[in-house]
């Protein structure tokens, strides 16, 4: 395969009105606002509904656990379920996902165990799941850096004629970083099979979108790279799923990358250590709560007779089960071995690192002996 195919660059302004397939009242949109995308079938929508409900219940549970001090930190995606779940549902098991700290619920949807997702936020180790088993890179904190990894992996796969797609999520704030630009540009120049989902939740911690960009939409950025860009209602899971799905298909068939902006809102604080009352109005949060992505889909499914009471109960139960399981695993303490600190720095351990390890080992042994003495003394008393 030669990569030197002539590709025509895409050169069109994304629609300024977000693409929408279901309106906030749960009605199917059949106007131009649909951008020519088809509403997914009811089975698909029901499955997206189930995933969102489970994801939200998990997210709420983890926030509660964090408030109880079981986790060091947790960046909630409450309110962003349509983006989080819709896009990840559009890729296949063979595809790769490059998430940020915000995207725990997408990882849950991807099938990763709660304990493995949350291990890092609990503070046991930096990353807790098997990246290769799930084809999910570690959740990334340095903003926009993971987007380049997604492009590189996609390019490697392409060189190997391996028809996979890579998907990465970025925040609105992260689009300001140089790495976002370089990732978009490398993807477009190399025509890698990569889908970029910008979750525009309108804030970067406390900084509102207007201080982040002067463009009408973040999807407009696609123009400068000659790739297709879509400005999508990020609280409409049907639209997010349909647009990302089309982008995934195009990427897989050699059509190159796509930039998708999902316009949404973060209902919770940035993380548990944030105080959002300092930078946003309660009424804005209320406004966005009334645009809830799950309720919207629920209304539609109910109106179509596709969500019975029984199904709703079954889904709620499934969500409760995930929450209960999450509580269970997060209220036990992991057994950590401090000496493992030295195990994964280099393939071949360095002599001087082994010296440092030996020193810590001796320290731990000393501490254990002293603790033993104390216990012994205590027992004797």
């Amino acid at each position: 395969m030669s990569l030197n195919v002539e590709h025509h660059s895409v050169r069109a302004l994304p629609s300024e009105k977000p693409i929408r397939l279901l309106d906030n009242a749960g009605h199917a949109v059949r106007s131009a606002a649909s951008g020519g995308f088809e509403l997914p079938d009811l089975d698909t929508l029901l499955e997206l509904y189930r995933r969102m409900v489970v994801a939200r219940r998990f997210d709420v549970q983890v926030t509660a656990l964090t408030k109880q001090g079981r986790l060091a930190t947790y960046p909630s995606a409450y309110g962003q379920e349509a983006c989080e779940i819709g896009a990840i549902s559009a890729i296949e098991a063979r595809d790769w996902f490059f998430p940020t700290y915000r995207d725990s619920i997408a990882l849950l949807t991807r099938g990763i165990e709660p304990a493995d997702i949350l291990l890092s936020f609990r503070g046991d180790w930096h990353n807790g799941y098997d990246q290769y088993a799930h084809r999910c890179a570690s959740q990334t904190t340095p903003l926009a850096t993971q987007a380049l990894h997604a492009v590189g992996l996609a390019h490697a796969a392409r060189l190997r004629q391996d028809p996979i797609v890579t998907m990465t999520y970025l925040g609105d704030g992260a689009t300001s970083e140089g790495d976002a630009h370089e990732a978009f540009n490398f993807a477009a120049v190399w025509q890698t099979p990569t889908v970029f989902l910008v979750q525009n939740n309108q804030f970067a911690i406390s900084v509102p979108l207007a201080r982040q960009t002067h463009a009408a939409t973040l999807a407009d950025k696609a123009v400068g790279y000659g790739m297709p860009g879509y400005h999508v209602d990020g609280n409409d899971v049907a639209a997010i799923y349909a647009v990302t799905r089309a982008a995934v298909d195009r990427a897989r068939s050699g059509g190159g990358p796509t930039l998708i902006e999902g316009l949404t809102y973060r209902i919770e604080a940035h993380t548990n250590s944030d105080d959002p009352t300092r930078y946003r109005q309660a009424r804005d949060v209320e406004h966005w709560k009334r645009r809830d992505p799950i309720e919207r889909l629920e209304k539609y499914l109910v109106s179509e007779g596709a969500l019975s009471e029984a199904a709703r109960t079954e889904i709620a139960d499934a969500a409760e089960a995930v929450a209960a399981h999450t509580r269970d695993v997060m209220t036990t303490e992991a057994d950590l071995d401090p000496l493992e600190l030295f195990d994964h720095v280099y393939e071949r351990p360095r002599a001087s690192l082994l010296e440092q390890r030996a020193r810590l080992e001796a320290e731990l042994a000393d501490a254990a002996t002293q603790a033993g003495h104390r216990n012994h003394a205590g027992a004797a008393r």
Binding site: A72, S176, Q212, F342, V345, L360
Partner: protein, 340 residues
């Protein structure tokens, strides 16, 4: 150590009040902005939020958005535009949210901030301050506890300072803002909530000087930022065991105060440097090398480095094993042959 003469241009000192280090830094910014309208402050979340550590709390309400504002989220952009603002004659004070998030700005820092005076034969100077909430020990998840000082100290042209207490925090930040050269101003996050009674404006030792913060005769502990407390605690504990430890707060990492440190080391004939960063290539290497070069024949033992391990900074639950503690300091000193 903490001379409290007032600045010439400053209002009379207020009555002492309890201030945290974060509060002292906030007061320093406030006073500097009030004193000089060329001082502008920007970065990520420094506006309405007041910074993720609240160091800029209330400043936007007081000074308005033309003096302090939230910039787009891009560190190279923040430093690069600050270079331009400083060229114009402003005195930008910008914030990098954590050490690791200064790395995107590395090129601007090394190729421009550090070099502009030199490149232009002193015609163009950059009076700017880069504040970096630094180091670990606050249970931060990955990338939130790096120690970046060695990157800056090995770059000629940068001035690098790190206060360890509220008084120095105030005084040194004022001095950094007044400096005509760029200053990397590192703020040990784990000390943000430490308190002291201060009568502002407080003036401590010049920011390029180290200070003996505890006198002793047997060993000199060289510490800075978060490890000054570690050293002082170790010294207190050692006293009980009959070991007299002198503690020097380096304060200025670049330049290094050879004079103050040398005097102490020649007195005690033993020295150890303590820092959180990994040992290999850490700032302690420079300290050990130059103290040895200049005082070799006064040393009874090699300068010891008591530091983090040569590994990436660990996750919250494991950081206690990584950080140099007073116990670890004392245990390390025990490994010297003490034949006195």
């Amino acid at each position: 150590m903490t001379a409290t003469t007032t600045r010439l241009d400053a209002p009379a000192a207020s009555a002492p009040t309890q201030l945290t280090m974060a509060g002292a830094l906030n007061a320093a910014l406030r006073d500097a902005m009030a004193a000089d309208d060329r001082v502008v402050v920007y970065g990520e979340d420094v506006g309405p939020l007041g910074g993720v550590f609240r160091v800029t709390d209330g400043l936007q309400a007081q000074f308005g958005e033309d003096r302090i504002w939230d910039s787009p989220l891009a560190e190279s952009g923040i430093i690069g535009t600050a270079v331009g603002m400083a060229m114009y004659g402003m005195r930008p004070v910008v914030e990098m949210q954590f050490d690791a998030f200064s790395y995107p700005a590395f090129e601007q820092m090394v190729s421009h901030v550090a070099k502009m005076r030199n490149r232009t034969k002193g015609r163009m100077t950059l009076p700017m301050v880069v504040r970096i909430p630094c180091a670990g020990a606050i249970g931060g998840v990955e990338h939130h506890s790096d120690s970046s000082e060695a990157y800056w100290t090995s770059t000629p042209g940068l001035t690098v300072v790190m206060p360890s207490n509220p008084a120095d925090a105030y005084s040194m930040l004022r001095e950094a803002i007044d400096s005509n050269d760029p200053v990397v101003f590192m703020e040990p996050k784990s000390r943000y909530w430490s308190k002291a009674a201060l009568a502002l404006p407080v003036i401590t030792a010049p920011m390029d000087r180290a200070v003996v913060v505890r006198e002793g005769t047997d060993v000199t502990l060289l510490a800075y930022g978060p490890t000054v407390r570690t050293a002082l605690e170790a010294a207190d504990a050692a006293e009980a065991e009959g070991l007299s430890i002198e503690v020097v707060d380096l304060r200025s990492l670049s330049p290094f105060d050879d004079e103050t440190v040398g005097a102490s080391v020649r007195k005690t004939s033993r020295a150890a440097v303590i820092h959180e960063a990994a040992q290999f290539g850490g700032y302690g290497a420079e300290v050990a090398a130059r103290v040895t070069e200049r005082n070799f024949h006064h040393l009874a033992a090699p300068v010891m480095r008591i530091t983090g391990f040569d590994i990436p900074y660990p996750s919250p639950k494991l950081e206690e094993h990584y950080l140099p503690t007073p116990d670890r300091v004392l245990a390390a000193l025990d490994t010297w042959e003490w034949d006195d």
